[in-house]
């Protein structure tokens, strides 16, 4: 088990390295640079050259990348070109905010997905099953942006139960209750897509397991339903369920951008959006690396859990 984990952890290095090179190149290849972004209508060639020199953007690409890599390996992620704020000061609080949003969304998605999926599987082909599957299709296909705005229109504007945007009340003092009030709509919006997928996979996986020979034998032996589920069905169905759940976490980490923009939730997604618009390379690098890192870790955790559940997977 130990070597399995170790092998998995080692795979982080090439992935992270690869991501950093790709992002760096992509930004360089995109027309327009941060000097243009900052200078706006005043972006004459002379002014741009001055600014590029001042920012070190006129050095050859391998030199720029090398300098960035050296600094990053020693823990210095540089300074944001647009705001001159140190990158770690910018990125870490946003990372925490995104974690709050995505873990709440994932938790919601798991609760909805596991419970509805389980009930649907146990009542396969019933009215309950068919209606929940249609609903999940709707929820999974609806664009996140639109869903978010619809929820805001209903709960914030019409009913005035919840706030429209942000993580905290601007004029107030904050606090846990304030945070929770602000968290509900964005978390629900972000959760609906993953919830739909998890519901379907849970249902499919359970139905599949319920059909297996060993379950039929157990039923024939007269084992009670609760015990049957607990000991013979759920554990066997888990690997595909945990895999899809882990994938949803990865998807959420990178995909909350739209939810964050609609709700002005100050997370990594909206930071990514801003830094792409501003061509803010140090921030872009740090943000994408963090997202990639989290995605890889999430998948490793899922692999480890699956290996713990199913010894057959430990050789992989």
């Amino acid at each position: 088990m130990g070597s399995f984990i170790a092998r998995r952890l080692l795979s982080i290095v090439p992935v992270i390295f690869g991501v950093s090179v790709v992002i760096f190149l992509l930004v360089q290849l995109t027309p327009g640079d941060s000097a243009t972004a900052l200078l706006g209508p005043q972006a004459t060639e002379e002014a741009k050259q001055e600014l590029r020199q001042a920012l070190g953007l006129d050095r050859p690409l391998p030199v720029q990348y090398g300098a960035w890599l050296k600094r990053t390996l020693s823990g210095d992620f540089g300074t944001s070109i647009a705001t001159q704020i140190p990158v770690t000061d910018l990125v870490l609080p946003r990372f925490v905010n995104t974690l709050i949003l995505t873990s709440s969304a994932l938790l919601l998605a798991m609760i909805i997905g596991y419970s509805i999926g389980l009930f649907a599987a146990l009542r396969a082909h019933s009215a309950f099953d068919r209606s929940t599957m249609s609903l999940s299709l709707l929820a999974g296909s609806a664009p996140e942006f639109w869903l978010g705005l619809m929820l805001v229109l209903l709960f914030a504007i019409k009913l005035k139960w919840l706030p429209v945007s942000g993580m905290e009340d601007m004029a107030g003092d904050g606090g846990l209750l304030d945070l929770l009030k602000h968290l509900i709509l964005p978390a629900v919006t972000a959760a609906l897509g993953p919830a739909a997928i998890i519901t379907r996979i849970v249902r499919a996986s359970l139905i599949d397991t319920l059909r297996r020979p060993h379950v039929r034998v157990a039923r024939a032996k007269g084992i009670k339903r609760a015990s049957l589920l607990r000991r013979h069905v759920i554990l066997n169905a888990l690997p595909s369920i945990t895999t899809i759940t882990g994938l949803q976490l990865g998807y959420l980490m990178g995909g909350t951008l739209l939810t964050e923009v609609v709700f002005a939730w100050p997370g990594l997604g909206s930071l990514l959006y801003d830094s792409i618009t501003a061509r803010d390379i140090p921030v872009l690098q740090a943000t994408t690396l963090l997202i990639a890192f989290t995605f890889v870790i999430a998948n490793i955790v899922v692999d480890v859990i699956n290996a713990m559940l199913d010894p057959r997977l430990r050789e992989a």
């Binding site: 027309p31 243009t36 004459t44 705001t83 100050p266 801003d274 501003a278």
Partner: protein, 526 residues
């Protein structure tokens, strides 16, 4: 009464008075209230020497001041009046080369250090004097339009500073009041303590508000400066909230989470007015939307084609039906909001038949033109209208949309031959804005005259205008240049944006001035 009853009454009375005491100070503190402004973009950096955008200046304008200011407390004026700021008076020598500023006494920066001639000198060294140890390289790119005129800066006495220009330029003071790299006064002590980069976390100026905190992406907070030398602000605090998505901004306004928005979507304005929100516009905001015509494009080299394009577009229609009255059809290339602007200037009227005739005369058939445009949050409605108008006279326009920064790079780099038109919207409260847009030497890469328009007649007039001390005479010269530019059909002016701003009914005293930024010291919130 039993002991228990008395005790209960006593504790109840105690609790009541405690809460009364707890509430009272808050009631006293909240005199002017807190204004929460939902901004369409995040401010970039709070160092006024190393930044440019309007969104940023709208914030730094409250914290920093320059020697000279614009009076933004009056709405119904053609251009904001130049008034004393940190200089209580100034003189310009008869040859126009020496500006002698007499500084205001008793002014302190927000950190308590004194404002004096040494502080002014330090600031000029920071953004202009490359030989000084205080020079900040990054600032140079932003302030270049203002500093390229400066020959020397000297401290005459502790309260007097003299700036000598290389050549006379009577628009120079105004040029230093636009959002890009302004000569605003930053506390030298703060720069020395926190460094050139660190100043963004400690933006210390002399203005009516001082910086409290910045949570990037969430809010920037400033509070009233009770030691301000001038009219103290009414508001206790201002919170700037970046809300990129226009729908979110509108929703937050309706829900009372913010009090003010700029650049509202045009079709929401009527509805919000109906709900009791206050909509203000200003007919002299320096903001003109126009098209650059590419003089390197083979088809557009013929003046008849350029004139036909100008005649084919229904500007009034765009102003009425798309801008819903928050725009005004523009026929010339001078920026509104200046003392040279003439709202009655007319050039091409909407005449599709005339346009078709001209195109026929020019022997042009089945003309296909490429129009490069930036991607907007509001959708490319105006551009699609223009495409339709040109189709009616037989010109096929292909719209090529680009993300904003990509577009800026292309626009600033100059149009290649195969592109016929691009567009932009901006302006300045100095009529010399037209120099930036239309001079021969403003062609890329030296400048941003994206269509490479060049008429030496115009350049000669603009050279004269800048040397003209009397604004009335300067106006005549600028208008002559304007007439030549439009006779050449060098650009297609479209619509002036009247900058609609929507405020909640709780906001009192807000003035929408003929500028793109606002004086918040006169505002209060109930």
């Amino acid at each position: 009464m039993s002991f228990q009853q008395t005790f209960r009454r006593f504790t109840f009375a105690l609790a009541l008075s405690a809460s009364a005491i707890a509430l009272a100070p808050t009631a006293v503190l909240a005199q002017g209230g807190t204004l929460i402004w939902g901004m369409p973009a995040e401010t970039d950096t709070l160092d006024p020497h190393a930044t440019g955008g309007w969104s940023t200046y709208q914030v730094t304008y409250q914290i920093f001041e320059g020697l000279v200011k614009e009076d933004l407390t009056k709405a119904d004026v053609p251009t904001p009046e130049l008034i004393p700021g940190l200089a209580k008076s100034w003189t310009i020598s008869p040859d126009g080369l020496q500006y002698t500023f007499t500084l205001r006494e008793g002014v302190k920066f927000h950190d308590g250090t004194p404002f004096d001639a040494e502080a002014v000198k330090f600031n000029f060294e920071r953004f202009w004097d490359e030989s000084s140890p205080n020079f900040y390289k990054k600032a140079k790119a932003f302030v270049i339009a203002y500093t390229k005129w400066i020959k020397s800066v000297e401290v005459v006495d502790p309260m007097t500073v003299r700036v000598t220009l290389k050549a006379p330029n009577y628009q120079w003071l105004r040029q230093g009041l636009q959002s890009y790299g302004q000569p605003l006064m930053v506390s030298p002590a703060a720069v020395k303590q926190y460094g050139n980069e660190g100043i963004v976390a400690h933006p210390i100026g002399t203005g009516p508000f001082k910086f409290v905190e910045r949570d990037q992406g969430v809010k920037t907070v400033i509070e009233r400066n009770d030691d301000y030398w001038g009219n103290k602000a009414k508001l206790d605090k201002v919170i700037f909230r970046p809300l990129q998505d226009p729908a979110t901004r509108i929703n937050a306004l309706e829900n009372g989470e913010i009090h003010m928005i700029t650049t509202p979507p045009w079709d929401e304005i009527e509805r919000l007015k109906g709900e009791g929100f206050v909509v203000t516009t200003n007919k002299n905001v320096p903001y003109i939307n126009f098209i650059h015509l590419n003089f390197k494009n083979p088809a557009l080299k013929d003046i008849r084609v350029r004139k036909a394009i100008n005649m084919a577009i229904d500007r009034e229609g765009i102003a009425n039906e798309i801008y819903r009255g928050t725009g005004r059809a523009e026929y010339g290339m001078l920026s509104p909001g200046t003392d040279a602007y003439d709202p009655n200037f007319k050039s091409f009227t909407y005449d599709p038949e005339g346009a078709k005739k001209l195109l026929a005369e020019a022997g042009v058939k089945d003309l296909k033109l490429v129009f490069e445009i930036p991607q907007y949050g509001t959708g490319e409605i105006v551009e699609t209208w223009i495409q339709r108008d040109l189709k009616k006279v037989g010109i096929d326009v292909e719209l090529r949309k680009y993300e904003w920064v990509t577009y800026l790079g292309k626009w600033a780099g100059g149009m290649p031959e195969d592109v016929a038109m691009n567009e932009i919207g901006w302006g300045m409260s100095t009529p010399s804005w037209i120099d930036i847009v239309s001079r021969c030497d403003s062609a890329p890469p030296g400048g941003i005259n994206s269509g490479y328009y060049c008429n030496p007649e115009v350049d000669k007039l603009l050279d004269q205008a800048i040397l003209e001390r009397d604004p009335v005479k300067a106006k005549e010269i600028y208008q002559k240049a304007n007439r030549i530019i439009m006779d050449d059909a060098a650009f297609v002016p479209l619509v002036d944006d009247l900058q609609p701003i929507i405020t909640s009914a709780k906001v009192k005293g807000f003035v929408n001035p003929p500028e793109d930024w606002y004086d918040l010291s006169i505002v209060s919130v109930e």
